[in-house]
Amino acid sequence: MKSVHRKMTDEVKLYGFPGSPFGCRVETALKLKGIKYEFIQEDLSNKSADLLKYNPVHKKIPVLVHNGNPIAESVVIIEYIDDIWKEVPILPQDAYEKAQARFWAKFIDDKCIPAIYNSYGNVEAVAEATEPLQFLENELNVKGKKFFGGDNIGLVDICACYMAFWVGAAEEALGIKIMTKEKFPKLKKWCDSYINCQVVKDSLPPRESLVAYYKWRFGKAE
């Protein structure tokens, strides 16, 4: 087994695609910790030999390659980054709090994002899309802090970037309303706070491109 622990010159590559929220998560984590990396843009309709070599099981981005060793799946990558680079922790230290962070990250991936995505181009599904969001709203309410991670952004905030940015772009593109201020006041406030973090701003794709993409992918022909 090759040693991947920190070297004087770490080589970090991120295989991704600019519009991907999952790649964005990893970039935010890397920038938060001040880790230098090379971004390698993949053409998802023509995946590189490297990507297929580094992620043979799922063949998906993002993939982080650290000193030649690949890690896939955005949440696993972020935990790995947090394990290796100890400055600016992303996960809580406490075992229970860590379990809660992992729980919400999984909830976002398993329930929130699929439900929201399902509602694009499918108006009947919009109500269902808001149900899982209510749990996130409650969580912010209960925590009473600026971020899911407390005073600073953490794993859950990073995973929720989809809600902070991608959902708004889709709403604008498709003329739908999923996350209203009336129903989700805390979540909307969190979105503003999150998007205004410099490391987040630096990781996001241009909004116009995203809006154009959603119009093209899900919009009705005009």
Binding site: M1, I71, V76, E79, A95, Y96, R102, F103, F135
Partner: protein
């Protein structure tokens, strides 16, 4: 940390997810109170401790709930420091363990579900799909004794409960298609924590027959 009264597991005997947690607790020698839930009549405690999913398993430690089996297993490893470790100490291998545990959830569980719900020719096709998934795991296992690194851990715990279902449904030809995985099953079953925590295949078969009879 080892106060018996402080650990409760809300569980269901037939659940592969509950079994994962039982295995982890047994590996660590943690004493706990096991409370069997009835999915048709969930207790107020379950609904209070897992309001989001309302599902077992839920580990309640010192009154605080932890949900989602792979997350619970990691929590157990972090809250109880005695050996054995359930995750590798190396960060890269830890990442691999998480990836494979996640793979089991996404692929084995989904492929397995399709088998239990189909019959006849359709079931044969679904069994082949599962074999393809198991072959990927066979590849990952290679010549190693366990799925990740040299020790029994998270990824093995995630997968081993499914082996009882494969046995229960027979004719899966796992030994022929995935001999290394078949040997891995036997190796895991030699661990007392594993054999004590898993039901006999016959009980699973009976359970499934009963469900089908009740039109479920």
């Amino acid at each position: 940390m080892d106060d018996d009264d402080d650990v409760i597991l809300l569980d269901l005997w037939v659940s592969v997810f509950g079994q994962r947690v039982r295995i982890a607790l047994a590996e660590k020698g943690v004493h706990y109170e096991n409370r069997e839930e009835n999915p048709q009549n969930k207790t107020p405690l379950l609904l209070e401790m897992n309001p989001v999913h309302k599902k077992i398993p839920v580990l309640i430690h010192q009154g605080k709930p932890v949900c989602e089996s792979n997350i619970i297993v990691q929590y157990i490893d972090e809250a109880w420091h005695q050996s054995p470790s359930l995750l590798p100490s190396d960060p890269y291998l830890r990442a691999q363990a998480r990836l494979w545990a996640d793979f089991v959830d996404k692929k084995v569980y989904e492929a397995g579900k399709k088998i239990w719900r189909t019959e006849g020719g359709e079931q044969v096709a679904k069994k082949e799909e599962l074999i393809e998934v198991l072959k990927v795991l066979e590849g990952q296992l290679g010549e190693k004794p366990y799925l990740v690194g040299g020790s029994f851990g998270l990824a093995d715990i995630a997968l081993i409960p499914f082996s009882v279902w494969f046995h229960a449904f027979g004719k899966m030809n796992i030994e022929r298609e995935c001999p290394k995985l078949a040997a891995w099953v036997n190796r895991c079953m030699e661990r007392e924590a594993v054999s004590k925590s898993l039901p006999h295949p016959h009980k699973i078969y009976e359970f499934d027959q009963k469900k089908k009879k009740n039109g479920q």
